[in-house]
């Protein structure tokens, strides 16, 4: 009924102080939630980008069954990387670059130290088309990677393990594809940082060197693929699967770096937890306001009952009041949150992850849908939390209500 809505809205406006307190709670709650979500969005995007652009590429192609056995870096699940295959991949829409890789377990020898090393053989030219940010993790001398046939880069941790002067001649050792131990001379160019958890003793070697070492000329175990927009990764993966056939398996970056998915999931979970606590606190405030309103307006409720208002309408009245406060407060909070997020976006937040010495800048952002969701949640939540006060109002006996409770 129109006049009930009118009464509801006017009561909200009339009780300035009480409404202001409730609105402030909602504003703060929703504002904080939107700000946190926005910051987390920015953080996650940066993390994703540094993951994709420095390590995985957007999509990876392997021989069928490779990922299941990834821990043993199986060399027999390899593929011929000819022009035909590369062309077929580049023909898929949204694909911008392809880089072949070989992952294998090897050893590095320097002086009298020999250490195990998870080895990543990269095509010096094409790798940086797929993972341009990989170079950002290299120190100044390591940036020369690709200029010499035997120049390799190792992690800081591995360098520490080797101890001796890195400039001395080194050797790369590994069982080749047939299991026979093989070796090549190598030069350690410099070191690199890691941004992800897990294996710390990693070396990067030029692909041709590894192919020679492993007796895998012209072959690779992994293809890293870049796309124009990360959003298109699943699309490209599906298209590649169709184009390449059942011999191959195609994964998007997040299915390769599963630990990363875990991190994102944990962050989102934590945020939801915080959000829920905030929301409940906020809504308890609304419930309290409504209860106070019912107590204050007992006589008014009695009057309405005397004039013939039904119980259900009394319930509606208070629910509408709560929803009006909820939605209005939510909108204000959404606005505040958006402003904060926009400001942080322009300003940027510089952070250094504990796993890395390389700082990066977070640019918070939030999508409209999230704000709409939160505002709805705030309105619906206010409604739900007003059910009890509204029910109490409607259960008053008319005489008792007219007498003031």
């Amino acid at each position: 009924m129109g006049s009930l809505l009118q009464i509801a809205v006017r009561n909200v406006v009339r009780n300035v102080r009480r409404t202001a307190i409730t609105l402030a709670a909602l504003l703060l709650g929703v504002g904080v939630m939107v700000s946190i979500r926005g910051t987390l969005n920015g953080l996650q995007r940066s993390m994703k980008e540094s993951m994709v652009l420095a390590q995985t590429g957007a999509v990876q192609v392997h021989k069928k069954g490779y990922l299941k056995n990834v821990l043993s870096s199986p060399l027999h699940l390899d593929m011929e990387v000819g022009d035909a295959l590369v062309k077929r991949i580049l023909a898929v829409p949204h694909v911008t670059a392809v880089a072949p890789r070989i992952l294998f377990g090897g050893m590095v020898n320097l002086g009298d130290q020999t250490l195990f090393m998870a080895t990543l053989a990269l095509d010096p030219k094409r790798e940086f088309e797929v993972c341009p940010k990989r170079r950002d993790l290299f120190d100044a001398r390591a940036k020369a990677f690709g200029t010499s046939a035997d120049g390799m880069v190792i992690t800081v941790e591995l360098a520490k393990g080797l101890g001796a002067k890195l400039t001395e001649p080194a050797a790369l050792l590994a069982p080749d594809k047939d299991g026979a131990l093989s070796g090549e001379n190598a030069t350690i160019l410099g070191t690199m940082q890691l941004t992800s958890p897990g294996e710390r003793k990693i070396g990067i070697v030029p692909l041709p060197l590894a192919q020679h070492l492993l007796k895998m000329e012209g072959r690779a175990t992994e293809l890293a693929i870049a796309v124009d927009d990360l959003e298109n990764a699943p699309l490209v993966a599906a298209a590649l699967e169709r184009a390449l056939g059942p011999e191959f398996e195609v994964h998007t970056w997040d299915n390769v770096a599963t630990f990363f998915k875990d991190i994102l999931f944990r962050q989102d979970f934590l945020l939801s937890l915080i959000a829920t606590v905030f929301l409940v606190l906020m809504l308890l405030g609304v419930a309290n306001t409504m209860l106070m309103s019912v107590l204050d307006r007992t006589r008014e409720i009695g009057t309405m009952m005397a004039l013939g208002v039904r119980r259900s309408r009394i319930v509606t009245l208070f629910l509408v009041e709560a929803a009006v406060i909820g939605v209005f407060g939510g909108c204000l909070g959404g606005l505040l949150g958006s402003i904060v997020v926009a400001w942080l976006h322009v300003r940027g937040i510089e952070v250094t992850m504990p796993t890395s010495a390389v700082p990066f800048v977070i640019q918070p952002f939030v999508d409209v849908l999230y704000i709409v969701k939160i505002v709805c949640l705030s309105g619906i939540g206010a409604l739900v939390f007003a059910v009890y006060p509204a029910w109490r109002a409607s259960r008053l006996r008319p005489v008792q209500a007219l007498a003031g409770g």
Partner: protein, 241 residues
């Protein structure tokens, strides 16, 4: 057939182990067009009586008939509808809805029952004019004096064209001059429009204006005090002061 008919009405409250008899066997008839005053000291049961007649409360025992119907077994919503259509209320403390202005307060009971808004506005204006509020239609209750607020309440009670208007000490919160104006207004409405009024007071000054006075004490009507009973028919018919 009387509009209101009470036979042996009692109302008792249990307070712990003691029982308070607010009404103790009340017999009362109110005819259409009557202007009846229930007089009695504080605590005598006036409010209790009016609440039962107003379908706001139920009697513990006895028979209550309103407009020929026994209402003992009706549920909340039925009674709400009867109150809305057949009864007008005027309260001691005015009981206007604070967020609504004069017009909106007056039209409120009509909107509840879904009267079309257009025709309503004209009637509201008329009624407001009648009670002397023509210039205050847009005022909020807190911008009005006590007397003006009670006029709004009277207009709100009249706008639905009820069978009876119940007024529980409508002048208790007003100064004596304003009280007289309000009573004069109600008498005038009774005379001109034949509105049935039943109102309670413990103010002896009001007696002077009343045509029929019923005295109540300790939850009983006092025998032989029903001044108007004999001439009721005549008064109701003539509708003159």
């Amino acid at each position: 057939m009387a509009l209101v008919e009470l036979v042996g009405i009692t109302k008792s409250y249990e307070l712990g182990r003691t029982v308070v008899h607010a009404l103790n066997g009340v017999d009362l008839q109110v005819e259409r067009g009557e202007f009846t005053v229930v007089m009695g000291p504080s605590g005598s049961g006036k409010t209790t009586l009016l609440n039962i007649i107003g379908c706001l409360d139920r009697a513990t025992a006895g028979t209550f008939r309103f407009d020929g119907e026994e209402l003992g077994d009706r549920d909340f919503n039925d009674l709400a509808e009867i109150r809305n259509r057949k009864i007008g209320f005027i309260f001691q403390s005015f009981n206007l809805i604070p967020v609504l202005n004069v017009t909106e307060n007056i039209e409120f009971p009509c909107l509840i029952r879904g009267d079309p808004k257009k025709a309503l506005r004209e009637r509201v204006r008329q009624v407001a004019e009648e009670v002397g509020l023509g210039k205050f239609l847009a005022h909020k209750p807190d911008e009005l004096s006590g007397g003006q607020r009670q006029r709004v309440a009277i207009a709100r009670a009249l706008v639905t064209q009820p069978q009876v208007v119940l007024a529980d000490e409508p002048t208790a919160n007003l100064d004596s001059g304003t009280s007289e104006q309000i009573i004069d207004l109600m008498l005038e409405l009774n005379a001109k429009e034949n509105v049935t009024f039943l109102f309670s007071t413990h103010d002896p000054r009001v007696m002077a204006h009343a045509r029929r006075v019923v005295h109540i004490a300790d939850g009983r009507l006092v025998d032989g005090t029903d001044s108007g009973r004999a001439e009721v028919a005549a008064v109701a018919g003539m509708g003159a002061r």
